[in-house]
Symmetry: C2
Subunit: 234 residues, 2 copies
């Protein structure tokens, strides 16, 4: 594409707010959004254990994709509310519980609603058209706020609760993807997977044992690729 | 009621999260909730102009009603997002715009969704049954997130996005009330109206001129009562 055509495209493309945690799914989701949209990146700190490491991953990914419109929001009240192993240090982060059918103890009550509400407020002010979120129903089964029916209900809420001129819509391109498919898609798009962080427990070398590391490692294995981030010796 | 019966009642009554801004409507709404429920009070700072004064009103009302379960959450990112006269000091607070049909410039984009999401997360952890919010469609017409259809959509979102064992429901007892009816109901219930604060502009003496003051004053006039809070000389 010639440079003036690229500029034309950039000017007329719709704006997408991307929720970017710094993990694998959100990185690939942002790369998908970037194929058709101008990007604005939103990151939310909610007092989770690896908050600082995730924020670094967010910034690294935004730098890599040259996204300058960024918002980092702090909702540390979720830590005060507690009720999850991710925000309450008295609840242990589970290992090897992937595949059980209960709502996992890492479920942060109604968390995605906070992230999406921030995205909607910001998107309404910026005049954005889409909100991209890298939620997956397949591997995160058990999180009630990661299901398609939940996102449909949120889209209805947006229609009811914003200005008539606002036309914001949540898009979940990875909802039905397995982790292996997410890795494969990210690799195909040239997404900066080496800059992502998934571990729930550690922040220098990934632990390789928490549920999030296990899912990630299985995803790379299933895609037939090596995970480029460093892990603790096992 | 004898004291042991009162204790029985307190133990078995459902728990209600009350959104208490410190204004008239939320005070009366909390008094209504207190007739049938145990209470937990939630206050949210969002970088609005009169944040400190509203927080004082929240504490005064909670003290008066002897509510010990309290959460004060800070969502100052709403100020960073801007887009409203309540959070952006470069947009003037309107005067005498009550009754116009557009979305008012005091509309904080999607604000109630943030407040309700916090209430749901807290309510899910506490095992609450209800969320009381003192929204009124009548006087706040024009705020898209104050309509019955919005709250219905949010109740559906709660059902989709929380644990199967959670049964939280938003209750809007004042939705169809005029400000005069709210004042009258509050007076009948003995709600501490003298501790509330409504002014969007000032924090020591209410200005009496902003839309919020005008609605409040009309409400007291229509109820045939004197507003017990102090106003600037006019």
């Amino acid at each position: 594409m010639e440079s003036n055509k690229l500029d034309d495209w950039k000017q007329t493309a719709p704006l997408a707010i991307c929720l970017v945690s710094g993990g694998l799914d959100s990185c690939v989701c942002a790369a998908i959004a970037g194929q058709t949209c101008r990007l604005a990146f939103l990151h939310v700190n909610y007092g989770q254990r690896t908050e600082a490491r995730e924020l670094r991953a967010f910034r690294d990914i935004a730098d890599h994709l040259e996204v300058t419109k960024r918002l980092v929001a702090d909702i540390s009240y979720l830590k005060a509310i507690g009720g999850s192993a991710l925000t309450d240090h008295e609840i242990a982060v589970p290992r090897n519980s992937v595949g059980t059918r209960d709502v996992p103890v890492t479920y942060v009550p109604f968390r995605n609603s906070h992230l999406l509400a921030i995205a909607v407020s910001w998107g309404e002010v910026l005049g954005a058209r889409y909100i991209f979120i890298g939620a997956t129903e397949t591997d995160n089964s058990g999180y009630p706020d990661c299901r398609g029916s939940y996102f449909s209900a949120f889209n209805r809420l947006i229609r009811e609760g914003t200005r008539p001129a606002t036309h914001l819509e949540i898009v979940t391109p990875l909802l039905m993807s397995t982790k292996g498919e997410v890795v494969r898609r990210g690799a195909d798009l040239g997404a900066p997977l080496h800059l992502t962080w998934s571990c729930y427990e550690k922040d220098r070398l990934a632990c390789g044992r928490c549920d999030s590391c296990l899912l990630r490692l299985r995803g790379f294995a299933s895609a037939g690729l090596n995970d480029p981030i460093p892990y603790e010796e096992r």
